[in-house]
């Protein structure tokens, strides 16, 4: 159906965005989304076209940057998650998200999830940016849709165990906590049935380019992210706990890559060498 997994991801994220805007009363305005998209794509173009050209590479200035699809995925992720009042806040998020891919690298691999990096920078440095954890509500059909779409993409890129490890660990920790507190099962289920949590688990924690390469490393890493998310939410009452957990643990990726080595993920199918795409 799609040539590479990114096409599927763009299609799904685009669909969620249309769905969110049309059925969920989101406050995001078209202008702000345009600011995000423009800043992401321009930064990608700057990094992959303009700067190489200035460095003397033979490259056409007006061509699409090779990884424009990744930039678009980052832009869609930011549109889905980040909220703000000002263009410059959104543009800042877009610029630093993409710039982080080129500036914060170990070897030839970036380790921050670009959209997550942009979100954290915007939350910390701007007065107006925020994320709305309750924005999807808890209606079952959204959750099923996310699960279905996420499952397809994950099967494609071979990162389903990362989502599973994250969700199982998080759900397990919350189960223990809620049982110990004495809340009934419906309180626990309400806590888990959050559209934002699922989107994070299926589409953000699993970014194959920035997370560890080896499967064992990814499982360890996802368990750690889930544990820290739980800790930040329940002990520090941070509603944005999952984004902070991912941000804080991202630098662990190069360390885990060193411990468990495996070939790096490539999106283009012809060069594919990751375990689960065959």
């Amino acid at each position: 159906m799609f040539k590479d997994a990114r096409d599927a991801q763009i299609a799904f994220l685009g669909m969620f965005l249309v769905l969110g805007i049309s059925t969920r009363d989101w406050t995001i305005q078209p202008g702000l989304m345009a600011a995000i998209a423009a800043s992401c794509l321009l930064t990608q173009w700057l990094a992959q076209v303009v700067i190489p050209k200035l460095q003397g590479q033979v490259i056409k200035l007006w061509q699409l940057p090779p990884s424009w699809k990744s930039a678009l995925i980052t832009a869609l992720g930011l549109c889905l998650l980040l909220r703000g009042n000002h263009y410059w806040s959104m543009a800042l998020a877009g610029v630093v998200a993409i710039a982080s891919k080129f500036l914060l690298r170990v070897g030839n691999k970036h380790f921050f999830n670009p959209a997550n990096f942009g979100i954290i920078v915007a939350l910390t440095l701007t007065p107006d940016a925020w994320v709305s954890p309750g924005q999807w509500g808890t209606q079952a059909w959204y959750l099923l849709l996310f699960l279905g779409a996420g499952g397809l993409v994950l099967k494609w890129v071979g990162r389903w165990e990362t989502s599973a490890a994250f969700l199982c660990t998080y759900a397990g920790l919350e189960a223990v906590r809620y049982a110990w507190l004495g809340w009934t099962a419906d309180v626990y289920l309400h806590k888990l049935m959050s559209g934002s949590l699922l989107l994070f688990a299926l589409f953000m924690v699993t970014d194959p380019r920035s997370i560890p390469n080896a499967r064992q490393a990814r499982v360890v890493w996802a368990v750690l992210v889930a544990w820290l998310t739980f800790l930040l939410q329940e002990e520090f009452f941070l509603t944005t706990g999952m984004f902070w957990a991912l941000f804080v643990l991202a630098p662990l990726t190069p360390v885990l890559d060193r411990i468990w080595s495996a070939p790096q993920f490539q999106f283009t199918a012809s060069k594919e060498s990751t375990p689960l795409t065959t």
Partner: protein, 456 residues
């Protein structure tokens, strides 16, 4: 035993001030009416003033029964001492309610035959006492139940205990033995709070103080505390609830809008044109619309009714609160300049206070978790605002009049459809209420225009 109203926080005495607020005018239409909290029978009203981890929680009280039967149990995340409790002024709740209530505004069509005419109306814009009453003889019993009285004091007309407990069953037993008639099953809901080391703020009315005071109803209780938890416990209050409960939360912050973090926050339908007859029944209209929206959203969201910088309003349903009123509402970050520099005029300028009014209608099956909140930097203003566009009904004698009448009748039809869609009311019932702008006055027997004026 005293019937207990768990978390029975309540509404201000709206009738005292209703009607006193002068109609105000502004660029956004002329304010004509509002749908305030008095519409709802059992609406709890809570004010949360919060800056970083610091919170002042105001629990308004519209308790209708005998003062001697009143009791309140609220889980609080930290220990509370006497000086952290205050009895507030109920008027502040009324002021907040009036300032932020959904509003009806009106505009007037121009005479299509003299389009230059434009009507513009002028704009108009606690004393604390303390009397610790330790009950030494009962200490053994408390210990055996695992209940500790952390503090015991009186503030205004309230006797207050701060309890901590080890076991929920012990707390339930203690409350029963001390004449708090708590519902069956309470211990199951008390347990999670105990495990999270919440304390229990327990208030009863001190009848002597109450009789001595000039107040006819119970005043709001205010609690100041510091905790990173930004939430409102609603589960205890559901224990003895019959049907849906209404909760109106006014949240005041220096930064911006507050939203619910574990449920959706949905802005209530706003800025819609409604027929003229809605003026007479704006309360009923808003109530019906709220109920319809509540059902459409599957009864599982919080509604945003107002979000605004408190230094101004447009149109104003009531004047913005003065710095002193804001302080009474719990706003603690404005600085203490009461009575200081007299050269400064008491104008309500920029105050760095942003209000969010959330209206939550909840029941046990759809709201299993307590409400969690988060402050955002969102300063985009929002208000529940409904517009009446009044047709020009004066004498029209020009060609444009026919087109104008036709246009207005279409508009009236649309307005009717809007109301039907928003409220679920029957269109056929409403048709006769519309004052249709009919075809030219083809009255069979036109009276001379001067006859009415002298009334002969």
């Amino acid at each position: 035993m005293k019937p207990l109203r768990l978390l029975a926080l309540l509404g201000s005495i709206c009738f005292l001030l209703a009607g006193l607020a002068p109609p105000a005018a502004a660029f956004c239409g002329f304010y004509v009416s509002q749908a305030d909290a008095s519409l709802y029978n059992q609406a709890s009203q809570v004010v949360i003033a919060r800056d970083r981890d610091r919170t002042i929680l105001t629990l308004a009280n519209d308790y209708q029964g005998n003062a001697q039967d009143f009791a309140l149990v609220v889980p609080v995340p930290v220990e509370i001492t006497e000086e952290q409790v205050n009895v507030g002024d109920p008027k502040v709740l009324t002021r907040l309610d009036e300032f932020s209530a959904p509003r009806l505004v009106e505009y007037f069509d121009e005479d299509p035959c003299n389009p230059y005419i434009y009507n513009s109306a002028p704009g108009r814009g606690a004393a604390d006492t303390s009397a610790p009453i330790p009950e030494a003889a009962e200490r053994d019993r408390e210990q055996s139940l695992g209940v500790t009285i952390e503090a015991s004091f009186s503030v205004g007309e309230y006797d207050i205990l701060i309890l901590s407990a080890k076991e929920s069953s012990g707390l339930e037993t203690w409350l029963r033995e001390n004449d708090y008639n708590i519902p069956r099953g309470a211990s199951r809901v008390l347990q999670p709070y105990i495990r999270q080391e919440f304390k229990f703020f327990v208030a009863k009315v001190n009848l002597e103080e109450f009789d001595r005071s000039a107040f006819q109803s119970l005043r709001p209780l205010q609690i100041a505390y510091e905790s990173p938890r930004f939430m409102l416990p609603i589960r205890l209050g559901m224990l003895n609830a019959k049907g849906d409960q209404d909760l109106i939360v006014y949240i005041l912050t220096p930064s911006g809008r507050v939203e619910v973090s574990n449920y959706r926050t949905v802005p209530i339908a706003s800025n819609v044109n409604v027929p003229e007859f809605v003026e007479e029944e704006f309360g009923a209209f808003y109530k019906a619309m709220f109920q319809k929206s509540y059902e459409t959203e599957k009864k599982e969201v919080a509604f945003l009714e107002y979000a605004w910088d408190m230094s101004w309003c447009d149109p104003c349903a009531a004047n913005p609160l003065t710095p002193e009123e804001l302080r009474q509402a719990g706003v603690f970050w404005l600085g203490n300049n009461n009575g200081g520099d007299r050269r400064l005029p008491p104008t309500p300028g920029p105050q760095n206070v942003y209000i969010t009014r959330l209206h939550v209608r909840y029941a046990r099956n759809k709201f299993p978790e307590d409400l969690g909140f988060q402050t955002t930097g969102n300063r985009e203003n929002y208000q529940g605002r409904y517009v009446i566009q009044r047709p020009y009904r004066g004498e029209m004698d020009c060609d444009a009049a026919t087109d104008y009448r036709e246009y207005v009748r279409d508009r009236q039809e649309q307005e009717l459809d809007t109301v039907v869609k928003l409220t679920g009311w029957e269109k056929s019932d409403l048709r006769s209420k519309v004052d249709w702008l009919d075809e030219p006055q083809q009255k069979p027997d036109p009276e001379p225009w001067w006859r009415d004026i002298w009334n002969r």
